[in-house]
Assembly symmetry: D2
Homo-oligomer: 101 residues x 4
């Protein structure tokens, strides 16, 4: 299982607000079974890498529209085979390191 | 004020765990006055762009050590001049869009 | 057609050099029909988004091995529907802007 | 010396073309002594990390203007203390790996 951050940014949107587009991407993600968490700089998704990339491709494609002809999508994949990688496990590992000192 | 995500990754660390290094970066950040939030894929920092970049340069530099000769740091800056940009404001904007429908 | 940058980084490689892994990723890409260009910070690929993401998933998966249990992959997708987007077209647009002044 | 990729993206530009803004960022970079190379997905800069971050902050700040109230800037730093890191050295290492087989 991979932990993946995605940020989808429409370019050429008349105004600087893009929250409408982010909300629409979350709708697309809600249609999947994937676990996700919204952060101030993107959405973090947990799941099989191919499934997550499929969802991201849909989020990206569905951001195009009447007023959006260009979309920039940034994806960061963290993937580990020696032990299960989860969003909460990653946070816990850091908190534990700091608490143990 | 900018909202900035940073991820500092040591390369060549014998094992796959890097939580010790992430914890150390948080220590460096704690020495500043900057507001930050740890996410599963990085740390989001809120503040004046130059101050945030200074803090990130320190986090990056202090990750080098006996066992770390290479560091990869990824920074994403979101900056807006027409209204104050904050971590909570960004999340609220998306939640409000979804709730309003 | 999208223009996509990918960078695949193995974590926990004992030493700081990762060129062997980058070379292997290029081998994986060579098995596809996709056009690509190696840059100092990643590989830029041109093609249908789903095909490119498939290739990237393979590059990512094939980086795991005996000495690599964790892989971090960063992908940036630039995609435009109003006109064909190519690597050379993007560079030409900037060079033309600068020459026209 | 670090090798750093930067991409500066104005949000809310009415149209999808941003080459004018990229060209302006190159102008800003030309005023420094830093070595750089334009790629289809960003600009790669070689130099002392603090100097490079200074230049990037200027590129970012100078992208704001009458029609641009929001700017997204992505920075990827690759930094190595055990040997000099250069753009050409990084490319050569990968080409050599492939040629040696």
């Amino acid at each position: 299982m991979a932990v993946v951050q995605v940020s989808v940014v429409p370019v050429g949107t008349a105004g600087p607000s893009i929250s409408r587009h982010v909300a629409h991407c979350i709708d697309v993600l809600e249609e999947t079974e994937l676990t996700y968490k919204l952060t101030p700089m993107g959405t973090v998704i947990e799941g099989d890498l191919r499934d997550v990339l499929d969802a991201i491709a849909s989020m990206h494609e569905q951001t195009f529209g009447d007023d959006v002809a260009r979309v920039l999508t940034t994806v960061i994949v963290d993937d580990r085979k020696d032990k299960p990688l989860t969003m909460s496990g990653k946070l816990d590992a850091v908190h534990k390191r700091r608490a143990d000192r």
